[in-house]
């Protein structure tokens, strides 16, 4: 039975879902789950919750908990990474400082000043985790859920020998959303009152097929089919319905002008191109409802903790239901040989020939007992590759900046960010990045401190 180490197990978004996903697979019910978090309170909560789950479901799992990952990595086959370096305090700086300069990020975890600084904080820690894996469990698969996905995976592929794959729910989540837009599985969707819950748990309707490739948070539905037929015409028709259009304006506009639907959400996508967030008027027009992820995380934390406490005390049942996350499916496929197709973030080894060799691409991968096998995709339509490449240039400079300890690359990365470049002058950018370097100093590695 496999040993699975969860690093950053106190993660609000992922840990509980992945743990319940794992136990829904019969072949994984005797797994050893080793929970690791440097935050004692969070670690204690997730440990007691997992123990409660074990009791509630009469599970034969083994649970270990520690603040020191080195104590549990030995013998691990899978390491799931969900860390957030600097927590909400650092995240607040990522969005608030740029906002003073007119860069209004709604998520700020992927690209731009927020994404780049998140990478600066996270890459050094992730590489230390990788060093420990190389030493203690060199054949383990590292499954990364932490953002900024592309920069982190790129850095790992460049600087370590750890087998890894980056996972996100944006591909399969968008596929479910698109199904609703074209009127497939809408009845099922109505059964879910809570929108977020629906996103994670509503099963994929029958008959939807998709082939998606690009980069994380900006991958393209190269094929979208319903019952074997191209479903794009249905999507173009859905766009004419104002009610549907209003739910996803940015992504529909991208489809209108570039021909393809993109993953993640309109909020995310609006940050990665220069067209939608240049000034408050545009933002009001294209993203009428705000969705500020930092605020959501901050205000959501206390109720989430309260709920976990109720569950630990047995006042509320822990629901056991398989989510749309790929992590547990991958482990099941590698343990049993039941093949599964996922979208994973992997090194571009010629998989998408018109994106740079070595960058991190999000492509369909098949998983068997031997591991993750990426599929060859071929050239993307040139307009899509071009958008991806603007983002990849930022990622490359940020990754090299951290790996080589070159601060100038960080300024250059942000100067090339499509949104920042659309708003600020070069010296404004310099001042903004300086301010971020100073404010986030305590979270940064020595080589990147001003």
């Amino acid at each position: 039975m496999p040993k699975i180490v969860l690093i950053g197990a106190g993660s609000v978004v992922f840990a509980q879902k992945l743990i319940t996903d794992i136990i829904t697979f019969p072949a994984l019910r005797e797994s050893t789950l080793a929970l690791v978090d440097i935050d004692e309170t969070r670690l204690e909560l997730i440990t007691r919750l997992t123990e409660r789950l074990k009791e509630q479901e009469h599970l034969p799992i083994t649970i270990e908990a520690t603040k020191d990952r080195r104590k549990v990595l030995k013998g691990a086959q899978y390491v799931i990474n969900m860390i957030q370096v600097g927590g909400l305090d650092a995240y607040r700086l990522d969005v608030e400082i740029p906002r003073k300069y007119g860069i209004d990020q709604t998520v700020g975890d992927t690209l731009g000043p927020g994404g780049v600084f998140r990478a600066l904080r996270t890459i050094p820690v992730l590489l230390e985790i990788c060093r420990d894996i190389e030493e203690l469990c060199p054949s383990a698969l590292l499954i990364n859920y932490t953002n900024p996905m592309a920069m982190l995976c790129w850095a790992m592929n460049k600087a370590t020998r750890v087998r890894n794959v980056g996972l996100c729910h944006s591909v399969q989540g968008t596929a479910r959303t698109l199904a609703e837009y074209i009127g497939v599985g809408v009845e099922d969707a109505r059964q879910y009152e809570d929108e977020e819950y629906r996103f994670f748990y509503k099963p994929m309707p029958e008959g939807i097929d998709y082939w998606v490739a690009g980069i994380n948070h900006q991958a393209w539905f190269l094929e979208f089919r319903y019952r074997g037929e191209n479903a794009y015409p249905l999507l173009w028709k859905a766009m004419e319905n104002p009610e549907i259009y209003r739910r996803d304006i940015v992504r529909f506009e991208i489809m209108r002008h570039f021909g393809y639907f993109v993953t993640e959400s309109s909020h995310h996508m609006s940050e990665y191109v220069p067209y939608f967030r240049k000034n408050p008027e545009l933002i009001a027009k294209y993203i009428p409802e705000r969705w500020d992820y930092y605020e959501i995380c901050r205000s959501g934390l206390a109720p989430y903790m309260e709920r976990i406490k109720r569950q630990i005390q047995g006042e509320e049942l822990i629901e056991v239901r398989r989510s749309l996350e790929y992590g547990a499916h991958i482990i099941n496929a590698m343990e049993t040989g039941e093949l599964v197709r996922i979208n994973g973030n992997v090194a571009n080894t010629g998989l998408i020939p018109n994106l740079p060799e070595g960058c991190c691409v999000e492509v369909p991968c098949l998983v068997d007992r031997l591991g993750i096998h990426p599929c060859f995709v071929g050239d993307l339509p040139p307009q899509l590759a071009s958008i991806n490449r603007t983002n990849i240039s930022v990622q490359e400079l940020a990754v090299e900046g951290v790996l080589q300890g070159k601060k100038e690359y960080i300024y250059e990365a942000i100067a090339l960010d499509p949104l920042t470049a659309g708003i600020l002058t070069l010296d404004d950018i310099k001042r903004m990045v300086d301010e971020m370097f100073v404010a986030e100093r305590e979270y940064l590695p020595e080589s990147l401190r001003l």
Binding site: Q77, D209, W211, G228, G337, L339, V340, R341, T349, G350, L351, P353, P364, L366, D368, R369, L370, H373, P374, C375, F376, G378
Partner: protein, 438 residues
């Protein structure tokens, strides 16, 4: 779901696939099978056997029909199997015996080298004719070729009909896995492998049992002299190059310069003969007593002998099952190298793991082969490429080039000897070849 078998008189093979078709949970009433062969006698046997299999498995017998005209069978076909042999045993005899007089000693001669190249010259025009009909009558069909020489034929089709969904299937990967499991006493279903390269020369890049690399155990095992005598040239290559190769030791002995260039080497590296490398073994294989063979067919067709319903090693029907939505399936297939093996030429035909899912075949990314393996594959690929150009351009000099660069022929003969041998083969096989060569 209409499946057409071209060369259905390839009896053992067609029967195996029909059994797989009956075994897997396809909706009975949707199965439709068309059997095509130009040999009426063989066709009537396979039709009777097919009817019997259908009857014994609850498939309406009127859902199978037979014809000698493929154009009658192809319309509406979603899946087409091609398993043909162009020319008879006499053509193959010349493939083997003429080169042998020059010292080029082949065992099978169906892949590369003088036998493989001339088999390609005979077979490619027929395959291209079939493809022309498929492109006209059922252009969306998935076509599975089981005919040799696999790589050269797939390559020619890719150049001439790039839009066809044409894949080459062979059982050499799964058969080798079974052999390794048997040598080691391992349960086959627990053995996991990752194989890539070119047809008849693909490499077991990974070999795992319960997740553990078991190559070290195999490496110990092949020190056993008794095993060495059964699978000699593959074990020799394993010892020197580090990886196990597919097909049989007899096949394998022909595709490199190491084992057959002198009589003493043939003697030393083909103990036991037969599949282990016997000179001209293919003539024995194809020259079986035809009469007793037909008597056996009659007994199966008439119901006197039971049908063997064991699951076959062939991928064909399992692939169709996955394409129809029956879950993801992994199979090694031959197809153009679009980014799969990064250190083989992009235009060549590779045999790589593919994932089959509803409506799609997705080749996996393999990456660089270990250098010493890529080097041998490239030697073979460059000879194939010249044979392909010979066929596409109809230029006789490319036939010479293909054999000038054949690893075995080049190890034995001088350039002018090779040219003389090729000329002699052209003359001897004239009846089987297009007049334009002369």
């Amino acid at each position: 779901m209409k499946v057409t078998f071209i060369g259905a008189g390839s009896l053992v093979f067609t029967q195996r696939l029909l059994v797989d078709l009956a075994r897997l949970p396809f909706p009975r009433e949707e199965i439709e099978v068309a059997l095509v062969d130009i040999n009426e006698r063989r066709l009537s046997y396979i039709l009777r056997i097919a009817r019997r299999i259908f009857e014994e498995n609850g498939i309406p017998v009127e859902r199978v029909f037979a014809t000698t005209d493929r154009r009658e069978a192809l319309p509406r076909s979603q899946y087409v199997f091609i398993s043909i042999l162009v020319g008879d045993i006499e053509a193959i005899r010349k493939d083997i015996e003429i080169p042998l007089r020059y010292g080029v000693d082949q065992c099978i001669g169906d892949t590369i080298g003088p036998g493989g190249v001339f088999r390609a010259l005979r077979t490619a025009p027929v395959i291209l004719d079939i493809c022309r009909d498929i492109a006209e009558l059922c252009p969306e069909a998935f076509v599975f070729n089981y005919t040799n020489p696999m790589s050269i034929l797939c390559w020619v089709v890719k150049e001439r009909y790039p839009d066809l969904r044409f894949y080459g299937l062979c059982h050499s990967v799964q058969h080798t896995a079974r052999q390794i499991a048997e040598y080691m006493g391992w349960p086959l279903e627990k053995l996991e492998y990752w194989v890539a390269g070119i047809n008849h020369q693909a490499w077991f890049l990974e070999l795992r049992l319960d997740g553990k690399d078991v190559y070290p155990l195999l490496r110990e095992k092949v020190e056993d002299p008794e095993l060495w005598k059964l699978d000699t040239t593959r074990i020799e290559m394993f010892k020197h190059l580090g990886y196990y190769v597919t097909e049989s030791s007899g096949h394998n002995s022909e595709y490199n310069p190491w084992f057959r260039k002198r009589p003493d080497l043939v003697q030393r590296f083909t103990p036991g003969g037969g599949w282990n490398g016997e000179t001209g073994f293919i003539l024995k294989l194809y020259g079986k007593d035809r009469e007793s063979y037909e008597q056996e067919l009659e007994r199966i067709a008439s119901g006197e002998m039971p049908i063997d319903y064991a699951e076959s090693e062939e991928y064909g029907i399992k692939i169709i099952h996955a394409l129809e939505g029956g879950g993801v399936f992994r199979a090694n297939m031959n197809l153009p190298n679009r980014g799969s093996i990064t250190n083989l030429p992009p235009q060549c035909i590779v045999e790589v793991p593919c994932f089959v899912e509803k409506g799609h075949i997705r080749p996996a990314f393999v990456g660089d082969l270990p250098l010493q393996l890529a080097a041998l594959n490239r030697m073979v690929v460059q000879s194939q490429e010249m044979a392909v150009q010979a066929i596409l351009q109809g230029k006789r000099e490319y036939v010479y080039y293909a054999l000038y660069y054949d690893p075995l022929t080049a190890a034995v003969l001088s350039l002018d000897e090779i040219k003389k041998m090729v000329d002699e083969m052209f003359e001897a096989e004239r009846a089987y070849l297009a007049e334009s060569w002369f």
